[in-house]
């Protein structure tokens, strides 16, 4: 009988890329379900388009680069990129918007830098920013939540809107789409109104926007699942949401007429999705415990700064990409001390 002697480490990690990515997809499910209940089948069409394009681009790039197809195509990482990008794009955007974003994310942001494990920037957010900069009009046309818009488009109507780009005659674009709560606050403040006046609009719910708050709570549940499965560590979500809450609390106490409350900032836009699903991307995030805290805090603060004083209503993508840039430096200066060695700065 032969005894195989392996070299250390003898404990093999229980996590594989495919397991991690599959868990992320599972954790996204509650959010996706609530999102599509509130905002219609356009969400699902976006998801299918985004994930299919990402997978096709991944396969094509692996083939062109002469890399093995099987381990990379089946690790679900492209699907996660496609899903996150699709969730960030307004439902009922023309099909080529999602496709272009997914292509850019996978080809330019992921594979030109070396593929899975080598990309310095989050591919989904890179694709999203390209779209935000290139076709800003499409990217700001969000559907209104139910109750505020009458006669939401059905499945086939949604399909035809996505693929032909024209709305059916019986539906009114202006009645169905509108500003998101973050947009509303932004433009209201610019007109010199106070937050108390702005938030009386019907689009605002108890904590976040109508509909949006439930989507965000569902994403929060998904995030809790990821923490429970130990797919992500607590550092990045806690630091991101904590710093966002803290900085918004400071300004909110200072002048509640001009600065929105912490609850508003946490449960609007993509803050929660970002904290649990986007910022925690194992490739482009910081990898040391202290580094993760700094990285997350940086994202939270940048989200607040760009939302409040910047040119865009939401800021998750920019915050994540900016902190992605800082990751090499953060990792360099937060390396844990090796046992038995002196600390080297």
């Amino acid at each position: 009988m032969e005894f195989k002697q392996h070299s250390a480490p003898h404990l093999r990690p229980a996590t594989r890329v495919s397991r991690v990515m599959a868990d992320v997809l599972i954790a996204l499910l509650p959010g996706i379900i609530i999102y599509s209940i509130f905002f219609g089948p356009g969400v699902l069409i976006n998801l299918v388009l985004g994930m299919a394009t990402a997978l096709a681009a991944e396969t094509a790039m692996l083939y062109l680069r002469g890399r093995p197809l099987q381990p990379f195509v089946t690790d679900f990482s492209a699907l996660v990129t496609g899903a996150l990008l699709a969730l960030a794009i307004p439902p009922l955007a023309p099909w080529w918007v999602v496709v272009m974003g997914a292509l850019f994310g996978i080809i330019f942001a992921k594979h030109l830098f070396g593929g899975l494990g080598y990309n310095p920037f989050n591919p989904a957010m890179a694709g999203y920013v390209v779209l935000l900069v290139s076709v800003p009009g499409v990217m700001s046309q969000w559907l209104l939540p139910p109750g505020l818009a009458d006669g939401a488009p059905g499945f086939f109507q949604s399909l035809s809107i996505v693929f032909t780009g024209s709305w059916p005659a019986e539906l009114d674009v202006d009645a169905l789409t509108g500003a998101t709560p973050l947009d509303e606050v932004r433009s209201g403040l610019m007109q010199g109104r106070t937050l108390g006046e702005i938030t009386t609009a019907p689009i605002f719910g108890a904590i976040g926007g109508v509909g949006w708050q439930w989507v965000n709570i569902a994403f929060l549940l998904g995030g809790a699942y990821l923490l429970y499965r130990r797919v992500i560590r607590w550092h990045i979500p806690v630091a991101t949401l904590g710093s966002l809450a803290l900085i918004s609390l400071v300004f909110y106490i200072g002048d509640p007429d001009l600065y929105a409350s912490p609850g508003f900032h946490l449960f609007n836009g993509a803050a929660i999705l970002c904290a649990f699903f986007i910022a925690t991307d194992p490739v482009s995030a910081s990898t040391t415990p202290r580094g993760r805290l700094i990285y997350g805090a940086g994202i939270g603060i940048l989200i607040y700064v760009i939302r409040t004083w910047g040119g865009y209503p939401d800021a998750v993508a920019f915050a994540v990409l900016l902190m992605n840039m800082a990751v090499p430096a953060i990792d360099q200066y937060t390396r844990p001390r090796i046992y038995g060695h002196k600390h080297e700065p």
Partner: protein, 230 residues
């Protein structure tokens, strides 16, 4: 240093050592100006004129320039030429001059020009310096035009849209719109698009070189690039 033939000088400037695609020199104007093909052509011709002129003057004066202060003298020569080009453009291509703006005076800082003066014109006879200046300038201009064309096509869906700036009112009809109702892709016109497009052009050149080198690796012993097996 062995004497290059004229064919080699031309090939070096236009392709093998293309200023933009291989040496990656003069990137600031290259990236900033090439939002349309015509902008690229304008700056390309201006740069071609300067590099040609500076090569001629440096080559003519090469025996009288003291070695220790040669760089300031090159800079003076180049600055004189750039000022001349600037004044000429202001006289005849006023609108184009305004579009290109600061990048016409900034030709003086294009390190490709002083590099050719230092590395080639100061050591070679006049006809050879002319050939080199022409090849270098044309290679740079060609890259500017292609880059401008790609960015214009992707960004706005047009080609040669501002041709009247360069060739007068009669050339307005030159503008082509290959895809009607193109929604526009702003990124290509913005600075990131310039970097991405240039990167793709460099990649394309490397691919072409590899393809050319592959079928007959034995016949070109002096070609060090791109012969590594897969």
């Amino acid at each position: 240093m062995s004497q290059q033939s004229y064919g080699e000088i031309l090939q070096d400037g236009l392709w093998t050592r293309n200023t933009a695609l291989v040496q990656l020199l003069g990137l600031c104007p290259l990236l900033a100006v090439t939002t349309t093909a015509i902008n690229g052509l304008g700056l390309g011709i201006a740069t071609l004129a300067v590099v040609l002129g500076s090569n001629v003057l440096v080559s003519l004066c090469r025996h009288w320039i003291p070695h220790t202060i040669r760089i300031p003298i090159y800079v003076l020569i180049i600055a004189t030429l750039v000022t001349t080009v600037e004044l000429l453009m202001r006289a005849w291509f006023y609108e184009l001059f305004h579009v290109l703006g600061i990048f016409i005076p900034l030709i003086v800082t294009n390190c490709a020009i002083i590099a050719r003066a230092e590395a080639f014109a100061s050591r070679n006879t006049l006809p050879r310096a002319v050939a080199d200046g022409f090849a270098t300038g044309l290679g740079f201009a060609a890259c500017l035009v292609v880059l401008g064309g790609v960015r214009e096509l992707v960004g706005q869906g047009t080609l040669l849209s501002d041709a009247h700036l360069m060739f007068g009112e009669a050339a307005r009809g030159l503008a082509i719109t290959p895809i009607p109702d193109y929604p526009g892709f702003l990124l290509a016109v913005l600075p990131p698009g310039a970097f991405i497009a240039l990167g793709l052009l460099v990649a394309l050149k490397n691919v072409i070189d590899q393809r050319l080198a592959q079928p007959a690796p034995a016949t070109e012993p002096g070609h060090p690039a791109a012969t590594a097996p897969d």
